[in-house]
């Protein structure tokens, strides 16, 4: 745990320095990375530790985002409270989904959650009165007054998102090391053995969904304030699939892997876009090359590093002597 706290202090210091040094667009990217890290960390705990797949995690982000937008719009509470309430409401929704999910196995759970990810945002389109329809709701979010009038909003957004991500990572790290995390791993590896050992299997599985959904809600809340908008189009099914992709690419079940995954999904495509434009390719081609290249990169990472990027990093740093099982990598947060 001391190592976790130390690395978190270092990351926080680096982010503060970077956000001051870099321009507004980079600050926005930092906020994006922190937001996706929060969501992916929750998902990697659900899928990697408790063994339940979710292809609809964007739905939880949508719940968190809309809760935040509605609370800021109608009640104008302090943001910390809004963030916590959004997480709590999403956690409750996660509990409902978790109870339904506890009976389903692999691909059936995948199908059910995929449909959840498709269907939930369309509720917002169907009820424009409350949720603003396809146009969505505008989210007003300002930097606090004590930072001065000239403090860039993007920098404040990067700080808020990073702080949320770091707190989430710390909580998840301590959860996954404790009794609860041990129960999750036991349920994942062998349900019957876990039940025989006295673990309430259904409860462990539902709890994993609650925790994971809460993280998704936090991320949705952050996404709402950094993009200043919630709309059904902000939570497409590709978002849910991207989150799972990030979790697996980073290294499923590992929290540092969530950070690697978030870095990949935020930074790779804009980087290739820049390269494509700088080579003077036509507009259609340079708009589509990053997409194709991103797909290719996903395939190559999976073929080259079956344990994800975190697996590759551990091996590079000489942890390779420890057998690279999921259980071991998750301990090494």
């Amino acid at each position: 745990m001391r190592r976790v706290l130390a690395s978190i202090v270092i990351v926080a210091a680096v982010v503060v320095l970077l956000s001051i040094k870099l321009n507004a667009f980079r600050d926005y990217q930092i906020a994006e990375i922190a937001t996706y890290t929060t969501a992916v960390a929750g998902l990697t705990v659900l899928t990697g530790l408790s063994g339940q797949i979710s292809l609809g995690h964007g739905a939880f982000m949508a719940i968190g985002g809309y809760t935040t937008a509605l609370l800021l719009l109608h009640l104008s509470w302090p943001f910390v409270i809004v963030l916590l309430v959004s997480a709590a409401i999403t956690a409750a929704a996660g509990g409902v989904v978790g109870v339904a999910a506890a009976r389903l196995s692999g691909p059936y759970l995948a199908g059910a959650t995929l449909m959840l990810g498709v269907a939930l945002p369309s509720i917002a389109s169907a009820y424009p009165g409350t949720f603003g329809g396809d146009q969505g709701l505008t989210v007003v979010f300002n930097a606090p007054a004590f930072l001065g009038a000239n403090f860039p909003l993007t920098r404040w957004q990067a700080w808020v998102a990073t702080a949320t991500a770091l707190v989430t990572l710390t909580l998840l790290a301590s959860l996954s090391r404790g009794r609860i995390g041990r129960n999750w791993r036991a349920v994942r590896d062998d349900e019957v053995a876990a039940a025989v050992a006295g673990i309430d299997v259904a409860r462990a599985r539902v709890l994993a969904f609650v925790v994971s959904a809460a993280c998704g809600g936090l991320a949705g809340s952050l996404l709402a304030v950094i993009t200043a908008l919630v709309a059904p189009g902000a939570f497409p099914i590709t978002l849910s699939i991207t989150l799972l992709t990030a979790a697996v690419i980073g290294g499923l079940g590992t929290l540092p892997g969530a950070v690697w995954g978030a870095l990949v999904i935020v930074l790779v495509q804009p980087y290739i876009t820049n390269v494509a434009y700088s080579h003077g390719l036509s507009a259609t081609t340079s708009a589509n090359i990053p997409i194709a290249a991103y797909g290719l990169i996903l395939i190559l990472i999976m073929l080259a590093f079956p344990q994800g990027l975190q697996g590759a990093v551990s091996r590079l740093l000489g942890f390779g002597l420890v057998p690279l099982k999921k259980e071991d990598t998750s301990e090494r947060t």
């Binding site: 899928t47 797949i53 339904a100 009976r103 389903l104 196995s105 692999g106 691909p107 059936y108 995948a110 199908g111 059910a112 995929l114 449909m115 959840l116 498709v118 269907a119 369309s122 509720i123 389109s125 169907a126 349900e191 019957v192 039940a195 099914i237 699939i241 799972l244 992709t245 697996v248 690419i249 499923l252 259609t284 081609t285 708009a287 589509n288 090359i289 990053p290 997409i291 194709a292 290249a293 991103y294 797909g295 290719l296 990169i297 996903l298 395939i299 999976m302 073929l303 079956p306």
Partner: protein
Amino acid sequence: MTEFIQFTLSGIVFGMVYAAIALSLVLTWRGTRLLNFAQGGMAMLTTFIALEVVYKTGSYWEGFVVALAAGVVLGAVVELVVVRPTLGRPELNSVIVTIGLLILLEGLAGIFFGGQFRSFPTAFSITGVHLGKTPLGVSRFDEFVAGVVLASTLILAVAFRFTSAGLRMRAAAFNATVARLSGIRVARVLTVGWALAGLLGALAGVLVSPSTFLYPNSMDSIFVYGFTAAVIGGLDSPPGAVTGGLILGVGLSYVGGYVGGGRGSDLTAIAAMAMLVLVLMLRPAGLFGGASLRRV
């Protein structure tokens, strides 16, 4: 009553398309225990190829045949090149590989064919047919769609049941180790399964594109509903895939038609989720899913 018949028939037509996608997923699932998320993207690509052929030759049928052939080749190539290296690794790795492939194919389609919506021709008239004086809400082409999918399903069912190649495929899906010991080349059987799945996907692409337009993402939602149909029916069951497709198609057609206020289309996805949740609550392994394999 007329409305009811119209909604039912047009639901069946869309249901048959979902059934074709669902069947292709069931084929790959039974063989390789892998959900192929690139199935829709592969169908999109073969349909683009068909469209180019139709432009060049002016013949719908040449495009149709080329699409199916391309589907077979693409299915086999994907299995050999991309999927096989990931088998035996964590299951989700293969899933992410197919997602990567989907993104790659959509990017390539954007580069080579552009992102604009293209209309795709039909083989037959798309004006509605009448029974006496009653409009049925479906066209000759819709009849063709339903007929082709039904025919290919029956052919597959008969082939699986009565040919030795079908027996080999069933054996490999049932127990790969025992099949291998009996002298079946399981790896080749898996490739054939993927090729057949590619054919069904290509068929769905050609049949649905006249009503959805064709663009790099055009098969995404068709894939989601096809997947849903497969889950409703039970992922191990070909008859389940067809049943699931029909239930979903007809159910969504009723919701789109009867639920008023122009909200029908927004509620389609919600209705599909409701149907899926209902089925899974009653039968967690789908309608045709066998006894649960989980040792509890």
